[in-house]
């Protein structure tokens, strides 16, 4: 067996895999934030809570109705996305004429409510959600053991990221969306229902978070606080990448996951803060973010 800098390949690849898994979640969540920010100009602070809701709704579907993982993967984003649409219609839409900071404060309050309600109902100890039978077990790749479910998470996240990118950058609908981001008044004048587009965009961003939640359910225990700390790291990811580009959000998410995994190999104490340190460096060297546009 070869060794690299005194680190066994099992450890190195194991942590790289873990980094890629984390990166998958960073990418999905920062993508959702970027999509929402692009059109609504608000930072969705309840994104972490909606990710947690995704995991919980999947758990509820399985526990109360017996609906399995694969159906949950399709149903949960729709359910939680519909919840997001309701929130946008009832509350967020009332704030568009105000400073964007109010959107941040509102969604922060919503996150507190959602987390508090789930904590009261289910406690903080976490609920188990088992890996679907089709994806249990794993492959021995010779240099490491690859659990099937983890491979699936990376694959599914990459596919969803790609589809989102394709839909926004390469289709007619995406062109409307990008146009509305630039100039909503003009797009409205062409007869496109911009308010509905805004509502659906928010719903879609929330659905992405919920999808990530379902993916996360079998890996992490389903727990009311699972989104709270994650979302702050994702904010740092978003500051590093800049929210100007969809592709940027995806690449930064995966990239930082890998960097975090590597840090856990070479300097474990720093793994919790490495993303924040990178954020500080990026702020010094390129304040607009790696993929951001100059003016913010």
């Amino acid at each position: 067996m070869f060794e690299l800098l005194g680190i066994s390949p099992q450890v190195l690849f194991g942590q790289l895999l873990l980094g890629l898994i984390n990166g998958s979640f960073y990418a999905l969540l920062s993508l959702g934030l970027a999509v929402i920010f692009g059109l609504l100009n608000i930072i969705n602070f309840s994104h972490g809570a909606q990710y947690m809701m995704g995991a919980f709704v999947a758990w509820m579907l399985l526990t109360y109705t017996g609906i399995n993982y694969w159906w949950a993967l399709a149903l949960v984003p729709i359910i939680v996305g519909a919840f997001g649409v309701g929130i946008e219609r009832l509350m967020i839409s009332k704030l568009y004429h105000l400073d964007h900071l109010y959107g941040l404060l509102l969604t922060f309050g919503l996150a507190l409510i959602i987390q508090g309600v789930f904590r009261n109902e289910y406690g903080v100890s976490g609920l188990p959600y088992s890996i679907p039978a089709e994806l249990s077990g794993g492959q021995n790749l010779g240099f490491m053991f690859l659990p099937n479910y983890r491979a699936w998470v990376i694959f599914a996240s990459a596919i969803v990221c790609f589809c989102t990118w394709f839909a926004i950058e390469r289709t007619r609908l995406g062109a409307y969306l990008r146009a509305a981001t630039e100039n909503p008044t003009l797009v409205g004048a062409f007869g496109i229902n911009v308010p509905r587009m805004i509502t659906l965009t928010y719903g879609f961003g929330v659905a992405l978070a919920a999808f990530a939640g379902v993916l996360a359910a079998p890996i992490y225990s389903v727990n009311p606080n699972m989104g709270a700390d994650l979302i702050i790291v994702v904010f740092a990811v978003v500051v590093i990448g800049g929210m100007g580009s969809i592709l940027g959000a995806i690449l930064t998410g995966f990239g930082l996951g890998i960097v975090e995994g590597l840090t856990r190999v070479f300097y474990p104490e720093g793994s919790a803060v490495v993303i924040f340190v990178i954020m500080a460096i990026v702020l010094l060297l390129k304040p607009a973010g790696l993929f951001g546009r100059a003016a913010s």
Binding site: D99, L112, A236, L284
Partner: protein, 324 residues
């Protein structure tokens, strides 16, 4: 429309110098606070005072500088830790421990502020939040913070060597002096020429730049001042509760102080005091409800943002047509 425009009407009405109304309010407040410990539980009052200073420090940055920091727990909490450690492990006297804690918060404010002011608006909020989370992780891992337990049983000691702080009532009057001094300091900053420039930057930054003001320096200066005062509040709190814990540096603390400011009235002089008193009272009253307190805080957030953006004092100011 912006946060700034919301509060501008009140700020513009503020004349330079001290209006008689404000002197009267401060005087009445002082008299009430001098009587209060004989009626109410002193520890509760000290908690209100500490949070009133904390919220006023945030308001200096948010209401007058137009910068929303979502990471002020970093300054509050780190000052709290340093003060607790200095008083307990180094055996420093309380006044030195508080000074040291406050200085640490100021230094941290200088570092975080210098980076954070490179972005604006929403990004500024996210950057401060992320740095505060970094401070939180540091507090979790660092050897001297006591991890999950925090630093407990911090000795209150003797202030200047002869004022015994072990009595709650004595400590109350010391805390009152510190907090009232801090509040008057903030009032002075707001009404100084520096404060006027600050408000102008909040309202129209490009114009101030074109007039030749070094806007970034003003922003950094107010950020450091705000961090320092938040640190002073956190340091005092560590002596009051004889405890520094992870709660003090967690993001929920940052959110709580933003809520106090929002509820009381951003950009008003007395709003943060009212907001702090209201929220601390609510938390004490509903402490038995556990996580429902979080839900309640969330509901107040949502209602404040949707229906009540001026805050309690803001509404009173509008109805009485006075600047408060």
């Amino acid at each position: 429309m912006s946060v700034e425009t919301q509060v501008r009407s009140q700020a513009e009405a503020l004349p330079v110098g001290t209006p008689r109304l404000h002197i009267i309010i401060f005087a009445v407040l002082l008299v009430l606070l001098l009587i209060a410990p004989f009626v109410l539980y002193p520890v509760f009052l000290m908690k209100v005072l500490c949070f009133a200073l904390f919220a006023s420090a945030l308001n200096l940055l948010l209401g007058f500088g137009g910068l929303l920091s979502f990471g002020h727990a970093a300054f509050f909490g780190s000052a709290s830790y340093i003060t607790a450690y200095a008083a307990k492990d180094w055996g420093l006297s309380p006044e030195l421990a508080i000074l040291l804690g406050t200085a640490a918060a100021a230094a941290l404010g200088l570092g975080i502020g210098a980076l954070a002011i490179r972005r604006q608006g929403i990004y500024f909020a996210m950057v401060t939040l992320a740095f505060a989370q970094m401070v939180f992780f540091f507090a979790v891992q660092a050897p001297f913070t006591g991890g999950e337990d925090g630093i407990q049983a911090v000795p209150r000691g003797h202030m200047f060597g002869f004022i015994d702080l072990s009595s709650d009532l004595t400590l109350y009057f010391v805390v009152l002096v510190i907090v009232f001094g801090g509040l008057l300091g903030i009032y002075r900053i707001i009404h100084s020429p520096f404060g006027q420039v600050l408000k102008a930057i909040r309202d129209n930054e490009p114009r101030l730049i074109s007039l030749g003001y070094k806007v970034q320096r003003y922003k950094l200066a107010v950020f450091v001042m705000s961090a320092t005062l938040a640190g002073l509040a956190g340091a005092t709190k560590a002596l009051v509760f004889q405890l520094a814990s992870l709660t003090d540096v967690y993001w929920t603390m940052s959110g709580e102080v933003v809520l106090m400011t929002l509820l009381g009235g951003m950009g008003t002089v007395f709003g943060p005091l009212v907001g702090a008193a209201a929220l601390v009272t609510m938390e004490n009253y509903f402490a038995g409800l556990g996580a429902w307190v979080t839900v309640l805080q969330g509901v107040i957030f949502v209602i404040s943002v949707l229906l009540f953006r001026e805050g309690i004092v803001g509404v009173i100011a509008r109805l009485t047509k006075k600047s408060l």
